[in-house]
């Protein structure tokens, strides 16, 4: 590895993970509270993670019953690789083509392959954060279950280290080719968003397949885990064609230091390394084709509508202007659009499609819903409310300002304009998600008009305090130092923190509804919810008002 590449990798890792700034903050004892909060947020996810590991234990037992333990490892490696691949597609797009450092890197005397190589390594380190929590339980459960010796653990280490290489190589190649051929002047953003939507639909399709498999097994509840294990094998064989290396990884682990074990680990790690080399060669040829066009922005340069401009410079309500500006920025930044709109669209679409394609498996559920319409109404309100958190807009609203934060801080903008304007932009997405949800439900269970109104009204109103929770978290620790917009949304811990708080809020309200419903009926519950929503909104508004006033002044 040459010095340039090493230096690029070092710098990229430093920027991506903010190493220097963390060290600086620790040394100067700055921002210790936010850092402690990050720790707390991670710890709060542990209980659900432990539950997942327990379920995996039963899954392993089922594979063991049919004498196919190695498939258990196969499932693990494949799941980790699939997730690395899916997330990798998004990360690669944003990191290779939309990072802020690219305009500085391109003019430097470095090869395209060095830029891609360094970004690849940095992405791989990020992907360990995704792959390790998935693969480690599989490896530990298998190793302990079969009392495996040292060779197994050594093989595991090699597998874990090399696991993300191939899926990331595949993602890199696909995105580089995609960017090269979609680099069509003014339409490229549109083409890319449409492609992303198709990609999301593909993911939904896979999700539905898995859903069907699970629901069929649920119907034959006698030996759920056994059936699931059996069907998972079939599914693996189908999807496995895409990732044959997962099979090699599993076989390497189950054969240990035997000649076949060593052959399989060489195949597993070797394909990754060979893939990396080929990808780098490809990058040298095509990376700049997609990138340079991406940095270019089409402009009419002097052929604009001079006459029209005069009429279009006009005063507007600052709150609406703030909301409009937020929405414009979201819709014109593909990464923001995918994350925010994706968050509110996927759930209703998934729900509707899986209900429609679930066949008989969902009949009892449909009947149950028809008999408990109040639960349906309350549940739908909960889902629309959750969009306030799921679209990530509130929790990243100030972070997304990035280096433009100076504009907001030097203008005479009242906190009211900041709060209401930014909330409004998020609400418009909640309304969109709400309409889709109601449409989806209507397709399965005909809703009455008053139910539609209640669901939309309460759902959207309940999403307001949830959006505000996100905003409060974000103003407390805005992440404005990002170098690519993906970081502002996907790598922003404010989203996770506000999700944790928001989930508590939604589950608390849901639990209250559950207790009240048998004795008091839906109208009382709606009355209680109205009081909660109004009070929470009022309190959060006051809190935000104070936080924005002081934080905008004290931020450095």
């Amino acid at each position: 590895m040459n010095n340039k590449l090493l230096s690029l990798i070092r710098t990229d890792l430093n920027i991506t993970f903010g190493l220097s700034s963390i060290a600086y903050n620790l040394k100067n004892k700055k921002k210790l509270l936010p850092m402690a909060m990050i720790g707390l947020a991670i710890i709060s996810l542990l209980p659900s993670y432990l539950l997942m590991i327990r379920a995996l234990g039963s899954f392993y037992d089922a594979f063991r019953q049919i004498g196919q333990q190695s498939y258990f490892l196969h499932v693990g490696i494949m799941s980790a690789q699939m997730i690395v691949f899916v997330l990798g597609m998004m990360y690669v797009m944003s990191k290779y083509y939309f990072s802020n450092d690219l305009p500085q890197l391109v003019p430097l005397p470095i090869k395209p392959s060095q830029i891609v190589g360094s970004k690849f390594v940095s992405l791989m380190v990020s992907e360990y954060l995704t792959s390790l929590p998935i693969i480690l339980p599989f490896i530990v459960i298998y190793g302990r279950g079969g009392n495996e010796g040292l060779p197994y653990w050594i093989m595991s280490l090699i597998t874990v280290v090399t696991l993300p290489i191939l899926p990331l190589v595949l993602a890199s190649v696909l995105i580089m080719v995609f960017m090269k051929y979609t680099n069509i002047k003014s339409k490229k953003d549109l083409i890319r968003v449409i492609s992303a939507v198709f990609f999301i639909i593909f993911i939904i399709f896979v999700q539905i397949k898995i859903n069907q498999l699970t629901s069929q097994n649920l119907m034959e509840s006698e030996s759920f885990m056994f059936n699931l294990a059996r069907d998972a094998n079939l599914l693996l064989n189908q999807i496995g064609i895409a990732f044959p290396t997962a099979m090699w990884g599993a076989l390497a682990l189950s054969n240990g230091f035997s000649p076949s074990g060593i052959l399989y680990i060489l195949l597993f790690a070797g394909t990754g390394v060979v893939g990396y080399v080929l990808m780098i060669l490809l990058a040298e040829r095509i990376f700049f084709d997609g990138l340079i066009g991406n940095i270019e922005v089409s402009a009419r340069k002097g052929r604009g509508r001079t006459g029209d401009s005069a009429g279009r410079i006009r005063a507007g309500n600052p709150i609406i202007t703030m909301a409009k500006k937020e929405l414009l920025m979201i819709f014109k930044t593909p990464v923001y659009l995918m994350n925010s709109v994706g968050g509110v669209i996927i759930l209703p679409v998934l729900l509707a499609i899986s209900m429609l394609t679930g066949g008989e498996a969902y009949e009892p559920m449909k009947d149950m819903i028809m008999e408990n319409r109040e639960v349906l109404v309350l549940g739908s309100i909960g889902i629309i409310a959750s969009f306030g958190i799921l679209n990530s807009l509130g929790a990243t609203t100030f972070s997304r300002e990035g280096t433009n934060m100076w504009i907001q801080r030097t203008l005479p903008i009242r906190p009211k304009v900041q709060i209401v304007g930014r909330t409004l932009s998020s609400i418009s997405l909640q309304v969109l998600g709400g309409l889709l949800l109601v449409g989806g439900i209507y397709f399965i269970v005909p809703l009455r008009i008053h139910e539609v109104i209640i669901i939309l009204l309460f759902g959207v109103c309940a999403s307001i305090p949830l959006t505000m929770i996100g905003m409060a978290v974000d103003i407390l620790r805005p992440m404005t130092g990002w170098t690519n917009p993906q970081q502002a949304m996907k790598q922003n811990l404010n989203v996770i923190i506000s999700m944790a708080i928001g989930t508590l809020f939604i589950f608390g309200a849901g639990f209250l509804g559950y207790i009240l419903l048998p004795n008091y009926g839906i109208w009382t519950i709606l009355g209680v919810y109205a009081v909660i929503i109004v009070t929470a909104t009022g309190l959060l508004y006051k809190l935000l008002e104070n936080m924005i006033s002081s934080k905008f002044i004290n931020m450095e």
Binding site: N28, V297, S298, A299, R300, K301, G302, R303, G304, R305, T306, D308, S309, A310, R312, I313, R314, A315, G316, N317, P318, T321, M322, K325, L328, M329, K332, T333, T403, N404, W406, I407, R409, T410, L411, P412, I413, R414, V417, F552, I553, N554, E556
Partner: protein, 242 residues
């Protein structure tokens, strides 16, 4: 117009004093130049005036209004142009102007008239429909200048405003500054270009290592330095002595 007293800003728990107890006054109708070598504390001072950095000590008053106690009122009197025009790249020029206009609450007619006149002066009127990321550095600078001037500020603050501007636009900007002062408004700007400061400014302050080492009209500055030919010589002499 602007009065600064005992302003201090330090970093690393007081180890580095970026701005060390400075005081100055910018009068109504005055163009005030703020000079100093790199890292002298110019941008830090400006950031404290416009509300981007909180001072450790000292007061910044705008017509008697403490900018840190009543920031809304103060900000509505100020317009600020930073040295690096980082603005919303994905908006169109016109969208950015409307956004800034709405935040200052500028009525349509006034905004229209100002924007048209300024964009014409800076020769960007045909690019207003383009996305800002397609602008050059200089065009972004001109858009930020237009947006800042649209609100007709009482105090116009600029950090290195001439960097990136073509000679004609730089000339036009100087004309605008002079016109503003004739109307009783004030301009406060930092610069490295001695010639601009010498010809344009009514009064000048030279800052070095966080301290103001000289302040006054060109005549007064000449008296303090041995070399009296140009501001450049005065500047070099004063900053070398420190």
């Amino acid at each position: 117009m602007l009065k600064i007293e005992g302003l201090v800003k330090s970093y690393n728990k007081g180890e580095i004093r970026a701005v060390d107890n400075i005081g100055l006054e910018v009068r109504d109708g005055e163009i005030f130049g703020f000079l100093g070598p790199n890292g002298a504390g110019k941008t830090t001072t400006i950031k404290m005036i416009v509300g981007l950095l909180r001072p450790d000590e000292g007061e910044i008053l705008l017509d008697g209004i403490n900018v840190w106690e009543d920031p809304m009122k103060a900000k509505s009197m100020i317009s600020y142009v930073p040295d690096n025009p980082e603005i919303y790249d994905r908006l169109r020029g016109i969208e950015y102007l409307n956004f800034i206009g709405d935040m200052y609450g500028i009525p349509t007619e006034e905004r229209n008239e100002k924007a048209m006149q300024l964009t014409k002066t800076f020769n960007i009127e045909d690019s207003l429909d383009d996305i800002i990321s397609s602008y050059s550095h200089g065009m972004k600078q001109k858009l930020v200048l237009t947006a800042a001037l649209m609100s007709n500020p009482d105090l116009f603050i600029l950090d290195e405003p001439m960097v990136g501007l073509d000679p004609k636009s730089a000339f036009n900007l100087k004309e605008i500054m002079r016109t503003m002062c004739n109307e009783g408004k004030s301009v406060f700007f930092s610069t490295h270009v001695m010639e601009v400061a010498e010809k344009l400014c009514d009064r000048i302050a030279i800052i070095n290592k966080g301290k103001i080492i000289a302040m006054g009209t060109m005549e007064e500055l000449r008296k303090t330095a041995q070399e009296k030919e140009s501001l450049e010589n005065i500047f070099l002499e004063l900053t070398e002595n420190e």
